[in-house]
């Protein structure tokens, strides 16, 4: 197609990807280091993983983080999908400008501002800081990312499918659940995954809105990093990376299978 994929293009891609991946690869490699010094290789060992599982504080934080991430991603997916529908389907209503502003602004808003403002809200309404407040904060942040992902799928959605269903007498709500929802499902799933990983990652907003007993994994990692770099943190990071990587690979494989299935269905339909 493009005969002009030059050596320059290939070099810049290779260098770019090396820059993106080398630090992560090094981090993973040094999690298997025998030596306590993170940067000097002392032989292969998995002892840091063992000591990780005996670190009660870290395990507690992992459990808190996983629960926050699952709950907030699920609620954010519902709210974000509704927001995406609002943005694409209702082009004229009072306060639409404000609404789209409130959806897009959190994407670029510095986290310190979002974190501080949410904390002050929770204090003002007298909500004790803890599990609930972190979850509410994460829902608010991640629903906007879900909205953007789902919205971009809705833009390319062929609305004649919905019109056909409605012409055949299906009420709008039913049309939504039987026609629209299945078609935008891949976008909703990747929205959920994005929300999940964003919640899993977040340090700044969680630090502001969390309270005693609800320390999340990034908060724990951060406080340990401040004390010094240890292979144990490398091991914790490697496990997090592995979890996310497995999730992404499964999702993309499922997507591919769905795509192949769809193509087969289409061919079958054409053959009649």
């Amino acid at each position: 197609m493009n005969p002009t994929w030059s050596r320059f293009n290939i070099t810049s891609i290779v260098l770019g990807f090396a820059f993106l991946y080398l630090p992560i690869v090094l981090l993973v490699v040094f999690s298997f280091n025998e030596s306590k010094l993170v940067t000097v290789w002392g032989g292969f060992s998995t002892k840091w993983y063992v000591s990780l599982f005996h670190n009660q504080g870290l395990m507690d934080a992992t459990w808190v983080t996983a629960r926050v991430a699952v709950i907030s991603a699920t609620v954010a997916t519902v709210l974000g999908t509704l927001a995406a529908l609002t943005l694409t389907r209702y082009t004229r209503f009072k306060g639409r400008m404000l609404f789209s502003g409130m959806v897009f602004a959190p994407l670029v808003m510095p986290e310190v501002i979002t974190g501080l403002s949410l904390l002050l809200l929770f204090v003002a309404v007298g909500l004790d800081r803890g599990f609930l407040t972190v979850t509410l904060a994460h829902i608010t942040l991640t629903m906007c990312f879900v909205a953007v992902v789902v919205q971009s799928r809705l833009m390319t959605f062929d609305r004649s499918l919905e019109e056909a269903a409605m012409d055949l007498g299906a009420p709008p709500v039913k049309t939504f659940f039987q026609i629209t929802l299945p078609v935008i499902m891949p976008a909703i799933v990747s929205g959920w995954m994005l929300a999940f990983t964003l919640s899993l990652d977040d340090l700044v907003i969680a630090s502001f809105t969390s309270g005693p007993g609800a320390t999340t994994l990034p908060m724990k990692i951060y406080s340990q990093v401040r004390l010094g770099v240890t292979p144990e943190i490398n091991a914790a990071c490697t496990i997090l990376i592995a979890v996310v990587a497995v999730g992404v690979i499964i999702a993309s494989l499922a997507n591919k299978r769905r795509e192949v299935q769809r193509q087969r269905d289409e061919q079958a339909a054409q053959r009649g």
């Binding site: 891609i13 770019g16 609404f99 789209s100 899993l200 340090l203 990034p218």
Partner: protein, 324 residues
């Protein structure tokens, strides 16, 4: 139920007439809910918090729970509220302008973010360009590879650089071993480390909009320019770059705005020698427990960013229009 409902709706249109008034009311209500639920959520958890931040930025620090005064409320009736309103003052803002620390932090943050944005553009453009020109079969994989680091934790990716940039770190080991340098370079805890951290962390945000702009470009334009004797460099500046401008703008805003208020990167890679406003706000809040001053810092930071944020909104809205 589904088939029965469809048949009922299509066969007996007369009976349908009577039912549909109520049904339509129901549909309208559901339609409203689609708007109202996310709307109210964002008003309550995004808009109102800003109002509270602004209010507290006008309060005074106090040794109490919550640690500021006055706490606005109707506890003492309307006159009590008016009395409390009189206690609000702009002292915190005068304090911010008088203390050179804060002014320096704002100016440095904007400069660091601007330089990092330019660097990210310089690193990201060749990558996005190379991807857009790659064989079409390879492009989804390349795109996936750019997105993948975005899925791994921000904190972890910044942390990874500590081990590389330390004086006894991997980069210095490599450079010393190959004889490029005799003395370890001091990179960690300098602004250079912050630049590297921002470019590295925000690179996918730059590459993705650039790629989507460049991929849409019609390459026959370049061929036409070449046929007409235009050298490749000037063809790039006259055709490719202007056409990729929407991507350049979107990418730069996506990097610049969060980078100004960045906390994790300056804190972990910049050390105590560097000054950025996100870190100042964090310290004001967590170390000094001064909620009113940190609120005032946040309000001014927001004012600084309001223009870039509105530009970002407009760029988003325009991209939406074009996609339709």
């Amino acid at each position: 139920m589904s088939n029965a409902a469809v048949t009922a709706a299509t066969t007996s249109s007369a009976a349908d007439e009577g039912k549909s008034a109520l049904a339509r009311l129901g549909e309208a209500f559901v339609g409203r809910l689609v708007i109202i639920i996310p709307y109210l959520w964002l008003v309550f958890f995004f808009l109102i918090p800003f109002v509270i931040v602004f209010k507290i930025s006008l309060s005074q620090t106090a040794i109490a729970i919550p640690p500021y005064t006055p706490v606005l409320g109707f506890g003492d009736g309307l006159s009590g509220l008016l009395n409390q309103l009189k206690q609000l003052s702009i002292d915190n803002y005068t304090w911010l302008t008088q203390d050179a620390l804060y002014v320096n932090a704002y100016v440095t943050s904007v400069i660091v973010a601007a330089i990092s944005t330019v660097l990210t553009l310089l690193v990201g453009y060749p990558i996005a360009y190379g991807m857009a020109r790659a064989p079409a079969t390879l492009r989804p994989t390349l795109l996936m590879l750019v997105i993948l680091p975005f899925w791994t934790s921000f904190l972890i990716r910044v942390y990874a650089w500590i081990g590389i940039l330390k004086p006894e770190g991997l980069l210095n080991q490599l450079l010393l071993a190959t004889g490029v340098i005799n003395q370890p370079l001091i990179i960690l805890n300098t602004y250079t480390a912050i630049f590297i951290g921002i470019v590295y962390s925000y690179l996918p945000f730059m590459v993705l909009p650039l790629y989507s702009a460049l991929e849409k470009m019609d390459y026959s334009l370049i061929e036409a320019a070449k046929d007409l004797g235009c050298p490749p460099t000037s063809a790039f500046w006259k055709i490719t770059f202007p056409l990729s401008l929407p991507g350049v703008i979107a990418g730069c805003l996506l990097v610049f705005i969060p980078a100004v208020g960045e906390f994790v990167i300056p804190d972990l890679l910049g050390g105590s020698q560097t000054l950025m406003i996100g870190k100042t706000l964090w310290n004001e809040f967590f170390a000094n427990r001064d909620w009113p001053v940190s609120s005032a810092v946040a309000v001014i930071l927001l004012l600084l960013l309001i223009v870039p944020i509105m530009l970002f909104q407009r760029a988003q809205a325009r991209a939406q229009e074009q996609d339709k």
